[in-house]
């Protein structure tokens, strides 16, 4: 495997954080047996699902500098693929998952091809517009619950077996998906393709002058990110056994951006840590007061004003790793 150029002296040191994170996640169910098992499992499963979504966004946002403000649409598409298929009696994951991924990929291909024609602020706005379209489409699906959403008859089956019904089995399935998504993103980032994407972030004119058709590279990146987020949507619908248009509000897209930036842009494992920090902070603060947003909002402003590089930046500084 090629070493990422910015890894510098310590590849192991750099990979230490994700190794620790995944080890902790793998061990959690054994600890959870000691108390509050179902609460802990469902909370951390949710964290991991959003980590996949944030990871996929980091791929285009952190590495490609494409600020997509409609990424939550893919969560909804993946979720509704599960919901609509199971409403018609098709509950096998072997059918649901490919459909969820294909729908997300197709949506990403079409909207990406249109959005990537624009730059900067206009890109933010047009992805927002597509996200809103998906949202209103879901609201209008009266046959599938409309505004209120729909409750699933149960989790997806695998080869007709109720494997995911067990919370612990589902936890490990999600962990496996997260690990796979992380591995995929990591190998994309260090590949030649990933370097072109990063080059486009640093200096699009120069990359174009060298002769790379940037539009095509960015579009492929956008489709990969959208498809991965569709996977997160598939898992989220299964976890909650419920889908609703609330999956794809623009506020949800904003939260995904918050997760990525909170963890640290363009680090991949930062996205996982950011998702965990966001959801655990939400859980923790809402335990104190129903007005937790009054604490979280100013916290966010302070992070932007004073903590550049997010949590991963802070960890790097603590570890004395210099400027990364």
């Amino acid at each position: 495997m090629t070493m990422p150029p910015e890894s510098g002296p310590g590849f192991l040191k750099r990979e230490a954080v994700p190794v620790v994170v995944f080890a902790l996640l793998a061990l959690l169910p054994f600890v959870a047996v000691l108390g509050a098992e179902s609460y802990l499992l469902s909370l951390v499963t949710r964290v991991m699902i959003f980590a996949i979504a944030a990871l996929s966004l980091d791929l285009i946002l952190g590495y490609g500098a494409l600020v997509s403000f409609g990424h939550a649409a893919f969560l909804g598409l993946g979720g509704y693929a599960v919901g609509i298929l199971s409403a018609h009696g098709q509950t096998d994951a072997l059918v649901q998952l490919p459909v969820a991924l294909a729908v997300s990929a197709l949506f990403a291909l079409v909207t990406g091809a249109l959005s990537l024609r624009t730059k900067g602020v206009y890109f933010i706005m047009i992805t927002l517009a597509f996200g809103q379209m998906a949202f209103f489409l879901a609201v209008s699906l009266a046959a599938y619950g409309g505004d209120d959403g729909m409750t699933l008859s149960g989790r997806s089956r695998l080869f007709g077996l109720d494997l995911f019904k067990n919370d612990r089995a589902f936890y490990y399935a999600v962990l496996l998906a997260l690990l796979g998504a992380y591995g995929l993103c990591r190998s994309i980032v260090v590949s030649r393709f990933g370097r072109v994407i990063r080059g486009a972030r640093e200096n699009p004119q120069r990359m174009a002058a060298i002769g790379f058709p940037l539009f095509r590279y960015q579009l492929v990146g956008y489709v990969i990110a959208g498809t991965l987020c569709g996977l997160a949507g598939f898992l989220l619908a299964n976890q909650a056994e419920f889908v609703s248009p609330a999956y794809m509000t623009w506020q949800r897209s904003g939260e995904l951006i918050v997760m990525v930036v909170l963890g640290g842009l363009g680090t991949l494992h930062g996205a996982i840590i950011g998702a965990a920090a966001f959801l655990l902070l939400e859980e923790w603060l809402s335990g104190f007061t129903e007005h937790w947003k009054m604490i979280f909002g100013p916290f966010l402003v302070l992070v932007v004003l004073f903590a550049r590089g997010g949590l991963m930046g802070a960890i790097r500084r603590l570890g004395g790793g210099g400027h990364g």
Binding site: L61, V67, F69, L114, R117, T118, K119, G120, V121, Y122, I124, M125, I126, L128, A129, F130, Q132, M133, F136, L137, V139, S140, L141, A142, W250, Q251, G254, I257, V258, V261, L265, H291, K293, M294, F296, G297, P298, F299, L300, V301, V303, V304, L305
Partner: protein, 306 residues
């Protein structure tokens, strides 16, 4: 489909368009002059509505309430500018999106804490209550006409301010090339503050004006904010004229699309499919319009930057 319905809905669309313009005017200038994405602009609209509701309840008169709400909205906007926004002008768009997102979370919750989660209602002022007969069989509420009238009057004033005065000239110059204006010796920080405060007050005015006809509730600015972004992107960022035309366009398309979209579709397909498709398509119309305009004119209709 009767002509009366068409007229009423056109007026409703015009009213939405005027409101959108009041919010969009400030946003497009802040965006154009300072290159600053302010997601919290919708919150200014909400604050305006709450202030109007509070002062109206205190004084017992909507016009006193409005007169007190405007300077308060201005002061609040300036306070936000001083505390937070001025530290974000030279940051990238992502930082701005995040910080202003945090402000939305805070303020939406704060109004819930201060005024409660239940919607407030403001009575329509006595002088502007009732309906007026515009033509045979066409009654329209006076208050809604007042909104349209005051919005159009402000649009005209703003147009004169931007195109005829010295400060307007600086604002236009700032929208097309802010560093150059600064290099020519204009205190750009002061200019930013004036534009920002003015924009906040206009959004607050829009909120105060709709307080009697909509329910005043937390988060009321969120969805309108997104429509406002659609407006300024269609109009071209930094252009007040573009914002006006786009606001009226979006207001009409959104309102008429929701009412007549399903009816037009019914001519093409069977009724149940038409109402289903109409319900799905109508709210999407404005976004489709925006995507189409950006596809053909990536800088909007009247881009301020060359």
């Amino acid at each position: 489909m009767s002509m009366t319905l068409l007229y009423v809905q056109t007026l409703n669309g015009l009213q939405l368009g005027v409101l959108l313009f009041l919010i969009a005017a400030g946003l497009t200038l802040v965006f154009g002059v300072m290159d600053f994405i302010n997601l919290a602009h919708g919150v200014q609209y909400m604050i305006g509505a709450y202030l109007a509701a509070m002062f109206t309840a205190m004084t017992g008169n909507f016009f006193y309430g409005l007169a007190l709400a405007l300077p308060s909205a201005l002061a609040f906007g300036l306070l936000l500018e001083f505390l937070i926004f001025r530290h974000l002008y030279d940051r990238d768009h992502l930082d701005q999106v995040l910080a202003t997102f945090g402000i939305i979370l805070f303020l939406n919750q704060a109004v819930k804490v201060i005024w409660g989660a239940a919607p407030l209602s403001v009575p329509i002022p006595e002088a502007l209550s009732g309906s007026i007969r515009l033509m045979d069989g066409l009654l329209y509420p006076v208050y809604r006409l007042a909104i349209i009238g005051s919005g159009l009057a402000i649009a005209v004033l703003l147009g004169i301010l931007v195109s005829r005065t010295r400060i307007g000239m600086l604002v236009r110059a700032g929208a097309s090339n802010a560093p150059m204006v600064s290099a020519l010796g204009v205190d750009i920080g002061k200019l930013f503050m004036i534009v920002f405060g003015f924009g906040a007050m206009l959004a607050g005015f829009a909120g105060a004006m709709v307080a009697p006809i909509l329910s005043v509730e937390p988060g009321m600015g969120d969805n309108l904010l997104i429509l406002t972004f659609v407006v300024i992107v269609i109009g071209g960022i930094g252009s007040v004229r573009g914002a006006f035309i786009a606001a009226i366009l979006v207001g009409l398309v959104d309102t008429l699309g929701r009412v007549f979209g399903p009816q037009l579709l019914r001519a093409l397909m069977d009724p149940s499919a038409a109402s289903q498709a109409g319900r799905a398509l109508a709210p999407m119309l404005t976004y489709i319009l925006m995507a189409a305009i950006l596809f053909f004119r990536p800088g909007g209709l009247f881009p301020a930057k060359k």
